[in-house]
Every structure is written in structure tokens, then in C-alpha cells.
Amino acid sequence: MSERLSAAFFSSGGSSFTEFLAAHDPGLLPSGRTVPEGVVEAPHGTTIVTVIYDGGVLMAGDRRATMGNFIANREMEKVFVTDDYSVAGIAGTAGLAIEVVRLFQVELEHYEKIEGTLMSLEGKANRLASMIRGNLGLAMRGLAVVPLFAGYDIDTGKGRIFSYDVTGGCYEEQHHHAVGSGSLFARGALKKLWRTGLSRSEAVRIAIEALYDAADDDSATGGPDLSRRIWPTIATVDIEGAQFLDSEVVAQVVATVVADRQDNPGGAR
């Protein structure tokens, strides 16, 4: 350990942690590994929804990870705060996706420390895209990672959403979006419930309704688990920064949604 720091530590001009790793120790990068032929079965994360509200954006995810028709984990966190003004949610191969998010978090903080300034929201979205692009080889083997990225744009004072495909394509979404196996149903619910000028608490309600609908029709998405008290992960980003919603608050909203759906399985409209 006590050795002179190698030349990669002193190469000039780079403020990207990923590029530093590629030069110093590529084995630490998800894209830097050679993977043997064949298909493995690994836990998959499922549904993430994101909703823009007045002055910010919210992201919510269920807690289930599945492996085939087997529930691999019931309380996995799939929504992450990536820096002071952004959040990312993941669907797809859970292990790889969490690694990508971890790397992305370090990437953003690394840039912030070296440059002494915040990265623009588009910059962050593009950095994430290049990480997903690096994962294409693994995606071809069935180990795809599909993130959803949302952040607060300091310049305009609005929340923005970016979606991705497995090839690293990055697309800006309007109003709301969902990814993962239950996303079809969640998107349907969001489309009916979303309107302009939502408040933060209304957005929380809508996100939980959408996740409920996703869990209703998709077996891989976890519904509200009242007996174990497992609630969706919800993070909000606005002028106050990125923060997780307190689980007690989420519990109350979930309880209301579940109660309102008694004898009314279609939910709010």
C-alpha cells in the first residue's frame, strides 16, 4: 500500500472518476470486465415511476426484486439520491444497476470536488448515458440496466426527467415517466392522474397510485406490504435539494390509498 501514487493519479485535465478508473484499474468498472459466454439468472429490479410537480420532481420505486417467478428481495431500495439536486432509479439487473448508480454518485461528487462547481443537469444525464452505453455488452447477455434519472434544474427552477434505453440513448421526458416490468400499467395510471401544477403531496399520492396499479397487474412489482410495513421508496428533488420522504409519511399515504381502494379497485380518477 505504501507506494508512490501511480501516474494515473497525476494525469492532468480529467475530472471524471470513470475515466480515471479506466486508466488506473479498469477491472473496477462494470464495462471493464470480460464476462464468459452464457446466461446467468440474477435478481431483477422492477418498477420505478417519476412525476414532475410544481417546482420539482419526485421519484418512487417499489421494493421488490425478482428472479424468474421467485421473489429475491422484498425490501430492496431502487431509488437513489445521486447528488444534492438529482435522483436516479433503476430497473433491470439489480446488482449491476446498483453498481452503476454507486459509480455515478462518485462520478458526480468527484467532478464537484475537482472542478469546484456543480455539473449541469444535462451533463449529469449524459454521464449516466455513457455509463449505460458501456454496459451494452452485458445487456446483450440479458444483464440489462435501465435507469431513470430526474433532477432539479437550478437555472429554470423546474424538475426534469431523463429516460434511457439499453444502448445508452438518453431522452428527456415530459410530465411523468415509468420504467421496469410494471411500467406499462404505471404509465397508464400516471397519464390519467397527472395534471399541471401538482403540489408535492399530490405528486406523492399519484406516484403511489401508479405503483399500486403496477403491482395490481404485474406480478414482479411489489404492492403495499401492510403486514411487514414495507413502503415504496420516495425521493423528491426541488429547491430544497434531494431528499427521501420520511417512511411514516409514506405509510400514511399508502394507508389512505389502500383504504380508498376498498370496493373500488380502480382507484382514484
Binding site: 500500500m1 505504501s2 497525476f10 462518485v106 468527484h110 470536488k113 411487514r228 430544497e240 435539494g241
Partner: protein, 321 residues
């Protein structure tokens, strides 16, 4: 030039290199690092807003340097890379100032003996602990020697008068305001301080200072720069404040900068400032409804993205029941 015409003794060679490095360092302005009751304070005489001498390395670790800018900037970036690599491949808690100081020492030592020219820098790596006994301050010189310092460190040009001034006045557990006032007056004792031609009696003003802290009380990333009205107020001799606000600036932007003068600890402020303060304080309380829990908590690490206690209540206990 390729062959060595005369024998040069190793002693002479090392001495020449050391003299060369020392001369380079002595040209710069000084930096003071000292621990106060709630953390570690860094004060540098620096007339530039953009070229920093003090910088954040990791959650609890900061860096200060004097000497040649391009060389210590290289070391700073290398330190951030070292720390982020460590934290990424192990855990955030495994990044320590001691490890970083060792890596720097090896590098500086190797450069001193092997490279064409030694680094003309002197650096401090400091880590704030859970309490003041846990604070660590390491001072590294151009030849790779490391010193574990307690209390305060002075680096740079003419350190002797500054060290003397601090030695007579420094006590541990001073408040931030006291420590800062002492550091600034000590720095002003340097005859080369301030504008050239001045006798050195003038006190350095906020515009000539770079001030930062590692504040024990903040969540996760403890490094904060102190600028603007807040710095002016801390330095204000007639109406000083003794600490920085507990909450970060409410405006969106880089989280590591504190500029808002929102502290109102002293009850004996005169009316004008009192009035002004209460107004702003009201704003801050509203902004950070979950006071103390700024959004900048542990959340950027997936493993610790929620406070531990909450996680336990959430899953662990109830699944057993």
C-alpha cells in the same frame, strides 16, 4: 551534459534540492490550520477567488497547501482520486487522512529523491473526528516527511512571526470566531502579508482571505467554505459572531459554501443587526423544516442512504415479529 563531470556527495545533492524547494515555498503567502471547539479551521492569505489553496478531499478530510500552484493542484487532484477510489472500492468510512498522508509522503519522497526537481510545496491533510481528540492534522513537506501536529500548523513564507503569535495565544476549544480572529491577526503579523510596501500592521480583510472549516456538526460532507457576508460578520471586530449557522445556505447551488449571515447567538447585538437577523433567521427555519436534517445527509451512499435507526425500524424488527 550527459555525463557527470564531478562527484557530488549525496548530502550536498539533498541539501541543494532542499534549499531549492524551501526557496520556492518561502515565496508564497502563508496558511494557518488550527483546531477549534467544533472542528478544524483553515485560513489562507489568498487574493484569488478562483485559485484555491484549501480544498475538500473527502467527507471528513480537507487539504491545504502553499508553494507552486500547479504542483499542489496536481497533488490535490491525486488526493481526491485516491480518496474516491478508496471509498468506492471499500467503504466511505475506510478513507482516512492517515492513509492519504502516507500516500502523499511516499509520492513526495520519491519525487524528491528521483525526479529532476522536487515539488516546491508544503501541504496539510486534516481530518475532523467525532470529538476534538479525534482530530488529526498531518503536515507534509517537500521531501516527504510527515509530522502529526496538534493544535495549529503554519506553512508558507515567513512562518516564524506567525508561529510566535499563535503559540502565545492559542488554546484548544476556542470558538470559531475567536480562532479565526486569532489566525487572521497572526497572519497579518507576517511582514510580507497584505499589499507590498505596507509595514504589516494592517489587518487582512475578507477580500484577502480564503477561509474554510471542517465542521464536526455537519452531516457526511463536513467541508464548508466561508465567504461573503458571513465571513465579514465573523471578522467584524465591533460586532462579531462566534460560529457559523447550523443550516446550509438555502439557495440552490454548491453545497460547500456558507455565505449567509443568519446567526444570532449573542443577545447583546445592537438593534439594527438584531432586526436584520431575526428576519433572515425566520426564513432559514422555514426552509429547513426538518432542521438539522439538510438534504445533504448520508444519502449519497447506497449503503447508508438512510439513517441506520430508521432502517431497523422499517424492516428488521417487524419481519422477525
Amino acid at each position: 551534459m550527459t555525463q557527470m563531470p564531478f562527484y557530488v556527495s549525496p548530502e550536498q545533492l539533498m541539501k541543494d534540492r532542499a534549499d531549492f524547494a524551501r526557496k520556492g515555498i518561502a515565496r508564497g503567502r502563508s496558511v494557518v490550520v488550527l483546531s477549534y471547539d467544533k472542528g478544524i479551521l483553515f485560513v489562507a492569505e489568498n487574493h484569488s477567488r478562483a485559485l484555491h489553496k484549501i480544498s475538500e478531499i473527502y467527507d471528513r478530510i480537507a487539504f491545504a497547501a502553499v508553494g507552486k500552484y500547479n504542483e499542489f493542484e496536481n497533488l490535490r487532484v491525486a488526493g481526491i482520486r485516491y480518496a474516491d477510489l478508496r471509498g468506492y472500492s471499500y467503504d466511505r468510512s475506510d478513507v482516512t487522512a492517515r492513509g492519504l498522508a502516507n500516500a502523499y509522503a511516499q509520492t513526495l519522497g520519491a519525487v524528491f529523491t528521483q525526479d529532476a526537481k522536487p515539488f516546491e510545496v508544503e501541504i496539510v491533510v486534516a481530518e475532523v473526528g467525532e470529538d476534538s481528540d479525534g482530530d488529526q492534522i498531518y503536515r507534509l513537506t517537500y521531501d516527504g516527511s510527515v509530522a502529526d501536529e496538534h493544535g495549529f500548523v503554519v506553512m508558507g513564507g515567513t512562518t516564524e512571526p506567525i508561529e510566535q503569535a499563535l503559540r502565545s495565544r492559542y488554546t484548544p476549544h476556542q470558538s470559531l470566531g475567536e480562532a479565526l480572529a486569532m489566525a487572521v491577526s497572526a497572519l497579518s503579523a507576517d511582514p510580507s502579508a497584505g499589499e507590498a510596501g505596507e509595514s504589516g500592521s494592517a489587518r487582512l480583510g475578507p477580500g484577502q482571505l480564503e477561509v474554510a472549516i471542517l465542521d464536526r456538526g455537519r452531516p457526511r460532507r463536513k467541508f464548508r467554505r466561508i465567504v461573503g457576508p458571513l465571513l465579514e460578520r465573523l471578522l467584524n471586530e465591533s460586532d462579531p459572531i462566534h460560529d457559523v449557522p447550523d443550516t446550509d445556505d438555502p439557495v440552490p447551488g454548491p453545497h460547500d459554501t456558507l455565505s449567509h449571515d443568519t446567526v444570532n447567538h449573542d443577545s447583546n447585538h445592537h438593534d439594527e443587526s438584531n432586526h436584520h437577523d431575526t428576519g433572515e433567521q425566520g426564513d432559514v427555519t422555514q426552509d429547513s423544516a426538518g432542521a438539522g436534517d439538510s438534504p445533504r445527509h448520508e444519502s449519497t451512499n447506497p449503503q447508508t442512504q438512510r439513517p441506520r435507526t430508521e432502517g431497523e425500524v422499517d424492516g428488521g424488527e417487524s419481519t422477525q415479529g
